[in-house]
């Protein structure tokens, strides 16, 4: 528990390097996209004041872009632009377009017609009217648009970490998956501060009189470029190979921290979401990734697991964890859930995952097929003596397991089932369980130990290399601390693993993590 007692300030000063990097990336992302959005939106906004017949269409399109949920927009970008800064910037700039186009348009349309006519009558040409009359007079309105866009961008940029573009989202989402409040706050507070500061500065700018605005708008592009360039400072160093790690992996003792401490591995690392990591490795955008050993995409994308020769990755044996209340309330439950105990090996799980993640079969179908082939599938009894609530985290394997349990409970008992799948990461799922919002979900021993219990590092060292010791420890502690029961393990070990493309690993002759380190250090 000593990690919990660490104050936010300690965390921030300990991680000040990363915090600075992420903040710079965050500001950079915000302003690169803002700058490009202004470059596109301003002329477009001006253009539709000249061709009013297009104004509806253009504003409509920009409006629709804004209604796309940010995660989805980032998702759309990956097939087009891959991962990293490029898709993040494009997604951000698409969000920023609407306020800039709209305010440019309304600002210019709103310029007093008599003033425009006077300008024309004095012999100004259309460019002189634009630059000397329309733009200066529309500037307060345009600045308001830029202000809106900036604040939106600071917020949306936290999501950029999902696609390896960096930013304060790394701490926020890493913290959420690691159940580390300090880490969440270390990302969230600076992000909020950035939004408030930029909002304040731009609001001041808006209130300037015309003379000051003139100087301000002249220096603004320069300032934008300067802020935008912040993004490139942290990533200026490169490396032989590029690793893509999930935010969760980045902050874990049994993840990147362990790689650094125990192996002394130094690799150019970007943070990326699990959802796109495998594909990015397959497409040569990443060389080393932090995957899970039973992930179906391992098979789909021809990746190999590097042997953990120093044993830093603890065992992650899966087992259902259930609230004791629920076991009492549903006497048949334990027996039924244990039907799956020992049934699924690593290779079976990889195959099941392959079917959902790669062949896109539904988890329900994969679960039913598996139970049928093991002759333990029974038709539903449509029971109604109580509802068992099953949760799952937000990835395929958990969906499959949840489906299996659902089928078993319906077939073997008179209980009905409500599934609450896709409960984000460990923290969300575990909180749902302790808060009596679900009765059970599949958990992994390693996660229970390191992410939830977080014992002292000494205790971890003594437990971690033995799968039985780990299981016994979490079983005992969960019961004592949370009144939650670990049932029998399902069989497979979904441990963290470093993986590479099979071809590349062969070519570079890398089989273990130590091999990788040696390769990276060789000249």
């Amino acid at each position: 528990m000593n990690e919990h007692q660490q104050s936010l300030w300690e965390f921030m000063s300990q991680q000040s390097d990363k915090l600075l990097t992420q903040t710079m990336q965050h500001i950079g992302l915000t302003f690169i996209s803002l700058f490009i959005a202004v470059l596109i939106g301003l002329p477009l906004g001006i253009w539709i004041t000249r061709k009013k017949q297009f104004s509806g269409t253009i504003l409509g399109i920009a409006g629709v872009l804004q209604t796309i949920p940010s995660i989805a927009l980032l998702g759309f970008m990956i097939p087009l632009l891959g991962i990293g800064a490029k898709p993040a910037i494009v997604a951000l700039l698409l969000y920023a377009l609407l306020p800039i186009i709209r305010n440019t348009y309304t600002g210019i349309i709103g310029v007093d017609a008599a003033v425009k006519e006077a300008a024309l009558a004095m012999g100004m040409n259309k460019w002189q009217i634009l630059f000397k009359v329309e733009l200066p007079l529309a500037m307060p309105v345009i600045l308001a648009g830029i202000r809106t866009a900036t604040v939106t961008n600071v917020g949306v940029a936290t999501l950029a970490s999902y696609i390896a573009a960096g930013g304060l989202g790394e701490f926020i989402f890493g913290g959420i998956s690691l159940n580390n409040t300090n880490m969440i706050l270390a990302g969230a507070i600076p992000a909020a501060l950035l939004a408030i500061i930029f909002d304040f500065l731009l609001s001041r700018l808006q209130k300037f009189n015309f003379k000051k605005i003139k100087t301000a708008t002249a220096t603004l592009p320069l300032l934008l470029i300067l802020l935008a360039s912040l993004y490139f400072i942290p990533s200026a160093y490169g490396g032989k190979l590029t690793a893509g790690f999930t935010p969760e992996f980045m902050g874990r003792q049994d993840g990147n921290l362990g790689l650094q401490n125990k192996y002394g591995l130094k690799i150019h690392t970007i943070v990326i979401s699990d959802a796109v990591m495998y594909k990015a490795a397959y497409e040569n955008q990443l060389d080393v990734i932090s995957g899970y050993s039973t992930d179906g995409r391992l098979k789909a994308y021809n990746l190999v697991v590097l042997k953990d020769d120093k044993g830093i990755f603890p065992p992650y044996y899966a087992a259902p964890i259930v609230r004791q209340d629920a076991l009492k309330k549903f006497p048949e439950l334990e027996k039924t859930l244990n039907l799956l105990a020992g049934k699924i090996t690593d290779s079976i799980m990889t195959d099941l995952n392959y079917r959902t993640d790669y062949l896109h079969q539904s988890p329900e179908k994969v679960a039913a097929d598996f139970l049928r082939s093991n002759s333990i599938l029974k038709p539903s009894r449509n029971g109604n003596s109580g509802i068992v609530r099953i949760g799952s985290k937000i990835f395929g394997e958990q969906y499959i397991l949840a489906s299996m349990y659902s089928l078993l409970i319906k077939g073997y008992t008179d209980y009905d089932v409500a599934t609450k799948t896709g409960l984000g990461g460990t923290k969300i799922c575990f909180d749902a369980l302790t808060n009596n919002q679900i009765d059970l979900y599949p958990e992994y021993t390693g996660t229970g130990l390191l992410a939830i219990l977080q014992p002292s590092s000494k205790a971890i060292d003594s437990l971690i290399l033995d799968k039985n010791k780990t299981y016994n420890y979490v079983q005992r502690e969960f019961e004592a601390k949370y009144s939650i029961e670990w049932l029998k393990p399902i069989g497979f070990n979904n441990a963290y693993a470093l993986m590479m493309r099979e071809k590349q690993a062969k070519k570079l002759n890398i089989k273990t993590i130590s091999n990788l380190k040696r390769y990276l250090e060789s000249k």
């Binding site: 007093d112 008599a114 003033v115 006519e117 006077a118 300008a119 024309l120 009558a121 004095m122 012999g123 100004m124 040409n125 002189q128 000397k132 009359v133 200066p136 007079l137 009189n209 015309f210």
Partner: protein, 318 residues
């Protein structure tokens, strides 16, 4: 000289201007007068090509304006609008400097010219660095006038330039306007729907209705030789005052009493209209005017002016 020939402008079915022709002499002030919507503004804007005509032609000093680039044409034509159209983001000085800057004058010349105009228009230099919204309506209109005059264009177009001012301010500006030497060397077309103003400021008046010219002539011609009932009807309400405006001192010269021997030569001009003379005597409250015309000096007070006016009228009718 401005020559307008068979000029028309149609907006869809609306014949805003319908085949009008007229000429404005060098240094003349022609007033376009008429009810709202009769096509005054449209006519005016065709002269600096803010509106392109549907048919017809406009010549300035014999040159077809459609054959010149509109920007170049406009830099040689001053334009004053009702709501002045000052740039709110420019100071007074910057506003006045717009056209000279377009014409690429050097800064010294611009500064000198602005100082000169400010003085002529009774604006103190304190106002140079002030923004238009800090000025009164009358001051704004003066700045608008200065802006139109700064490059000394030979032609000046004015669309209800005093329309937004209160009566007192307007009377003051009218007086300044008439006294301004700069304007005496300009060919001016001014739009108004105020009959008094037309009579006070116009050398000739062009009365329009529904896009057509009903009559064009001097104020006196409109008053005393109206082309039709529309014209007399249009002037009826303010007839008496207009007559005072339309008739000049020299017209009633014969009926004015001579001045005492040895009287000083008067400074009041016999070209002024009778109304101005009446105003000058403060409607009887101040001393007689000494007026000198063709080497002869006459003296008249309120009573004498009125009496001479009526004698002139009855004599004319006879």
């Amino acid at each position: 000289m401005i020559t307008v020939e068979q000029l028309s402008k149609h907006f869809g079915n609306v014949k805003a201007v319908d085949g009008i022709s007229f000429e404005v002499e060098e240094h003349e002030n022609l007033v376009l007068l008429g009810t709202s919507g009769c096509g005054k503004t449209t006519t005016l804007k065709m002269i600096n090509r803010l509106i392109e005509p549907t048919a017809g032609s406009i010549l300035i000093d014999g040159k077809n304006i459609l054959e010149q680039p509109p920007e170049i044409l406009r830099r040689g034509i001053g334009y004053v609008l009702q709501n002045n159209g000052l740039f709110p983001h420019y100071t007074v000085a910057e506003n006045i400097a717009i056209v000279p800057q377009l014409l690429k004058w050097d800064n010294k010349r611009i500064e000198k010219r602005i100082a000169e105009l400010m003085e002529k228009l009774h604006l103190t230099p304190d106002y140079l660095n002030v923004y238009p919204n800090e000025l009164s309506g009358g001051q704004q209109q003066r700045v608008g006038l200065a802006r139109a005059l700064v490059a000394d264009p030979p032609v000046l177009l004015m669309d209800e330039p005093f329309g937004a001012l209160d009566n007192v301010t307007r009377a003051k500006i009218h007086a300044e306007f008439k006294a301004l030497d700069e304007l005496k060397r300009k060919t001016i077309i001014m739009v108004t729907h105020d009959v008094q103003e037309a009579f006070e400021l116009g050398d000739r008046i062009c009365l329009m209705d529904k896009g057509k010219i009903i009559q064009i002539g001097t104020p006196a011609e409109l008053l005393f030789k109206p082309a039709n009932d529309f014209v007399s009807g249009f002037l009826k309400e303010q007839r008496l005052q207009l007559e005072f405006r339309a008739i000049r001192i020299r017209d009633i010269w014969n009926w004015l009493p001579p001045a005492k021997v040895n009287a000083k030569a008067g400074s009041f001009s016999a070209d002024s209209d009778v109304w101005t003379g009446l105003e000058k005597t403060k409607f009887g409250e101040s001393a007689n005017l000494n007026i000198t015309w063709k080497e002869e000096t006459k003296s008249a007070g309120f009573e004498q002016l009125i009496s001479a006016f009526y004698q002139y009228q009855s004599n004319k009718r006879a």
